[in-house]
């Protein structure tokens, strides 16, 4: 089974984690001013790249904390894990 390196607990099996989709999708600054189209993009539209993807994971059967990861969606390889309050790391 794939091991995922929780930033707090270290490498654990994939079954202990749940997936949270794309990372770095902030709540709109001025929600009252959003058009229907802008709301639609906030609620329903997420990137779906084949390759590197910044995404959220939760160590739900462990420390239950959220973290972010850069993972390759074609190889499933985790390239980096980082804390929610860290900026998206620059990957080459």
């Amino acid at each position: 089974m794939q091991l995922i390196a929780c930033p707090w607990c270290g490498p654990r099996e994939e079954v202990e984690f749940s997936y949270g989709g794309q990372a770095h999708v902030p709540y709109p600054d001025a929600p009252g001013e959003l058009s229907d189209e802008e709301w639609a993009h906030y609620v329903f539209f997420r990137d779906n790249p084949k390759g590197r993807f910044a995404e959220r994971w939760n160590h739900s059967a462990g420390c239950r904390r959220w973290f972010n990861a850069i993972r390759d969606t074609a190889t499933y390889r985790f390239e980096r894990v980082y804390r929610l309050d860290d900026a998206r790391p620059v990957t080459s």
Binding site: M1, Q2, E14, V15, S18, Y19, G21, D36, E37, A40, H41, V43, F44, F45, R46, D47, N48, P49, K50, F53, E55, R71, T73, A74, T75, Y76
Partner: protein, 410 residues
């Protein structure tokens, strides 16, 4: 009694069903993706609209993606009017498809049982049966003793973790042989003069202003009057090239087969609650599908723990399967939309048509979407059956919310 030789009643493989075409400089219509949907669209463009200056471009080999990886289940017992309409249209086409294609597709209307395991399952299932009846879809509610008569190997004991409280039954549902379906469409399209071009990956689009005028491929640029995308899990790889955002997420969806067994399973059984769906293919292998792996993935493989859970569910429901051996597992890449309904029709670009978001349910729609997409391309406006499934429904809010509502194992 001597044992039946598995596969003995299947037809022999023919030598060649289509030309392996070289790309020409331009076509009236280019279809991106040589799977079931792309091939069916090509067939109906020729048959229904007389449009034959058409190429189907495929990055791998014909029908080697999800068309080779699905569990071949065909049914139309969806809850909402919009969904049952398009799947029922497809089912009616399936019923005449062998004749239309002049090719055996082993369409077997052996019925599908969608099991209910909780009181809420029962209420939802009965509601769906009544909705189906109003939409002219054959559906009935069956009690556990009838489930046992239809499929004797289902464990209907009250003493299991998720007892079978009944099921919905659609007698006209069934399975077909997926490869033969693709080959039948491909042969017909080829006979009509349509070029099926394999090993030809789209790497970009040619545009003039707001119009798509062709595709750049690994085998050169091909001009196109109109372009239709039938790329399933890889749709966003294409739409990202054009800067169009499409709200689908690609996930691996796993399935597996057992070794060949004597016929034991006369129908198709699906269970949402314990999450497995099972039929027995014509050759004799048990074909089982799982749920999607949670993460986004384009790898055509998934995690083994998903298979383990699926097997646990299967053995609980079918104790006789405990002695079967796993032969092979694989994954397809399914593009799931926010409301679990397809996204079909016009795009922000003139001459570009979208067909994606079928998620875990694309195979059963094959002839229906081919028919509707061919119409959409030929008339430059959505066929009525796909009109509710526009891209802009995520802005207007007119969703077709089939998540968990349609006995669908998403």
């Amino acid at each position: 009694m001597s044992p039946r030789t598995p596969g003995a009643d299947l037809p022999e493989h023919p030598d060649s069903l289509w030309r392996n075409a070289e790309p020409r400089r331009s076509y009236d219509v280019v279809i991106v993706g040589g799977g079931g949907h792309g091939l069916a669209t090509a067939h109906y463009l020729a048959k229904n609209h007389g449009i034959t200056n058409v190429a189907v471009v495929e990055k791998g080999w014909l029908a080697g993606g999800n068309m080779a990886r699905n569990t071949t289940i065909i049914r139309s017992n969806y809850l909402w009017d919009e969904s049952s309409a398009i799947y029922e249209q497809a089912l009616k086409l399936w019923e005449g498809l062998e004749e239309d294609l002049g090719y055996p597709i082993l369409f077997s209307q052996r019925g599908v049982l969608n099991l209910a395991h909780t009181l809420q399952d029962v209420r939802d299932s009965v509601r769906r049966v009544e909705a189906n009846k109003l939409n002219g879809v054959d559906a009935e509610w069956v009690e556990p003793d009838e489930v046992r008569k239809i499929c004797p190997i289902v464990n209907t004991s009250a003493d299991i973790r998720y007892p079978v409280l009944g099921a919905t039954y659609q007698p006209r549902a069934g399975i077909a042989k997926h490869d033969y379906v693709a080959w039948g469409f491909a042969r017909r399209a080829d006979e009509a003069g349509i070029d099926l071009i394999q090993d030809c990956e789209v790497t970009g689009f040619a545009t003039t202003g707001n119009r798509v005028t062709g595709v750049h491929t690994t085998r050169g640029t091909i001009g196109a009057g109109r372009v239709a995308l039938c790329a399933a899990g890889h749709t966003t790889v294409l739409t990202d090239m054009l800067g169009i955002r499409v709200p689908v997420q690609s996930h691996p969806l796993q399935a597996l087969v057992s070794e060949l067994l004597e016929p034991v399973h006369p129908t198709v059984v699906m269970s949402n609650a314990v999450h497995v769906y099972v039929s027995q293919a014509h050759k004799g292998e048990l074909v089982m599908g799982a749920g999607v792996d949670s993460f986004n993935g384009f790898g055509q493989r998934g995690a083994f723990h998903v298979i383990e859970r699926q097997m646990a569910a299967a053995v609980e429901l079918f104790p006789v399967f405990a002695r079967a051996h796993l032969l092979r597992t694989w994954a397809g890449i399914v593009d799931v939309s926010p409301d679990a309904s397809p996204i079909v029709g016009m795009t922000p670009y003139d001459g570009l048509y979208l067909n994606c978001g079928w998620g875990t349910g694309g195979f059963k729609a094959t002839p229906g979407i081919g028919w509707a997409l061919a119409h959409t391309i030929a008339h430059d406006e959505p066929h009525p059956s796909v009109a509710p499934f526009t891209l802009d429904r995520f802005v207007t809010g007119a969703l077709v919310d089939e998540h968990g509502a349609a006995a669908v194992a998403h």
